[in-house]
Symmetry: none
Subunit: 205 residues, 4 copies
């Protein structure tokens, strides 16, 4: 009478489909922008009908919001690993920069969506992603990294947002420049320089 009843858990296969949509839409949005990507585009790219797509996400905006939550969770999880290690702040910075750039290299759509869709089309996220709630998991990990560093005496105690803006603005800026094919060297080649810059900016004393 309590043997796990599998049936009727509202998802399972539906959850898989949902993820397919998110992944497919993410790619298109990142490549072409929010407005230049149409719902038929997305549906076609994953072999689903327009109507059915709407059974999963009842508007284009809601889909975009699900995507940013997805990205935030993915990136957050990767950084959590770093936070849970016992590296020094200097080493953690390098790890995080590496993670960010690797992601930008291997799954460019994730970072691109973040930079070009989420940060720029605020009207799309106004209702449903107030403040930073849709990006909460990611921000939280950066906050933990920073607080830990301060607690250990490795980083200067300053307004979190000042440090956050430096860290994320810098990385975002570099990925943008890379995307525009302006950088003379490949992104990875900058890891050391950038980590050093960030560390110098944030370190104690």
């Amino acid at each position: 009478m309590d043997g796990e009843v599998k049936k009727k858990q509202p998802g399972e296969k539906k959850e898989r489909r949902r993820l397919e949509i998110i992944t497919g839409a993410l790619k298109l949005f990142a490549r072409k922008g929010f407005y230049a990507t149409t719902i038929p585009d997305i549906a076609r790219s994953i072999g689903m009908s327009v109507g059915n797509l709407y059974n999963y996400f009842s508007s284009k905006e809601l889909l975009a919001q699900a995507i940013i939550r997805h990205i935030s969770a993915q990136l957050g999880a990767k950084i959590r690993v770093v936070n849970e290690s016992d590296l020094s702040s200097r080493e953690k910075i390098e790890k995080i920069v590496t993670i960010y750039f690797e992601t930008a290299q291997k799954e460019p759509e994730m970072i691109d969506f973040f930079l070009r869709i989420y940060l720029s089309n605020r009207e799309v996220f106004r209702e449903g992603c107030e403040g930073m709630i849709c990006v909460n998991e990611f921000v939280t990990e950066i906050m933990i990294f920073f607080d830990d560093g301060v607690a250990r005496g490795e980083l200067r105690n300053q307004d979190f947002f000042s440090a956050f803006g430096l860290f994320m603005g810098y990385l975002g800026g570099m990925v943008f420049l890379a995307g525009e094919a302006i950088l003379p060297k490949p992104l990875e080649a900058y890891v050391d320089e950038i980590s050093t810059n960030i560390y110098r900016a944030l370190k104690a004393e």
Copy 2:
């Protein structure tokens, strides 16, 4: 110095009208985004007919490109003044940060357009603004600032783009956070902290 023939310089009044369009469109684009702003919107906002507007800019994209060039020129000019002064690099950084934040405060549409329209809707600038040519004047001034600092031995010699990404990514990130009303303090209150962070990251030794 006054013999110049006024009439028939290919523009003059036309040039004035052109600037009106740029200024009006800039405001609307920055406020509502590229796609949500319509040509009739723009025409109406400056009391001009759609048809006539097309006599000045033959497409919405070309108008947007003219705007970003305009912004780049404005910001570039402000930074040139700093570069031409004989302040130390540390002081110049503070000046530039102040200029950027003041602009964000007083003419938010300029920075907003840069962050939300130019950086994000790349498809709009793909043809006509390859690389950073439309933003050239601004980038050049930052480059001059950096090279001077290095030449004077005040800044570490490193890849320019690494320094540029730090500087502009950081400032852009902070303005974004301010725009989202996430910052606990007003933007100006961060000038010192941020300038310090940037200087520490870039300084020699």
Copy 3:
């Protein structure tokens, strides 16, 4: 009286479900109109799946037609009681008016469906409810009332439809005005006046 085999009577439980659908759909149609009511709406409102609903009614139109037949039967039955009484025509008119208004008050969806769905969306009833066959039971009772009155010498002998149009058009018009909250008095307050008007119009001499 109890030997009847319960199982396998081609309906029984099926008949009960059918009625549930009719009642539920009636409410929604009357409230929101034919086109604004969706099949999923209806299914949800009675806790049935869309697929299964189609086992009972193979199209939205057929469902609407079943509903109007249902209403006609209900109203017809109520009027039959009046016809079978031995009241005078004057009294019968008053009874019928009262029944109509009471129904409009207590089960507004019945009258509303009649006025707003059946009378207006003729395209829905074009095939399947030609003429007045779907509303036959109701019309028949009005006809009986009229013929009786004429036979008894209480009502003037005239074209039935002229009398029918007066009777039903009048009542429908009043319910409409009531629904629009235009009437200064509650509907019941008009029973006497209206019955008098109808009687004067139809009475012999």
Copy 4:
């Protein structure tokens, strides 16, 4: 300096186009219903592009509201002529019934729109036609007819809406029956009988 300036009166030709749309849309709405008539249908029927139609009416609902106002004005004007004559109430009733039926015969779309679109799809008129304001001109004339009759002692003084419901419900009902091809005789053949019924119902004493 005061010779009538024709230019720039906001309409003229535009007004003509507007009327074309109203007339064309009226026909389609009356024939197929509000929801079954599409904007492309309407545009095609008058040889205009969809986009341009929206320059005249910014929504389907607003178009429908313009139509009912148009109809009300037309019918109101016809009845006004009767009101301004010095016929007896009995004769006026006959005139009005004749006008109504003639209109139903010659321009059936006007009466049909009134009965099937305006009266039934209230949601369409909820915002913009509150109460009876869109149908004001017509109702006013009926009110004048009634008040005059009472003032002259020809009609019984009773609640106006009771009389209005009788008059208009009756006529509407008859046109409906005619439209359903249920009447054994042509509509005009009923004028006398109906006028008599109405007169008997309303007359003094």
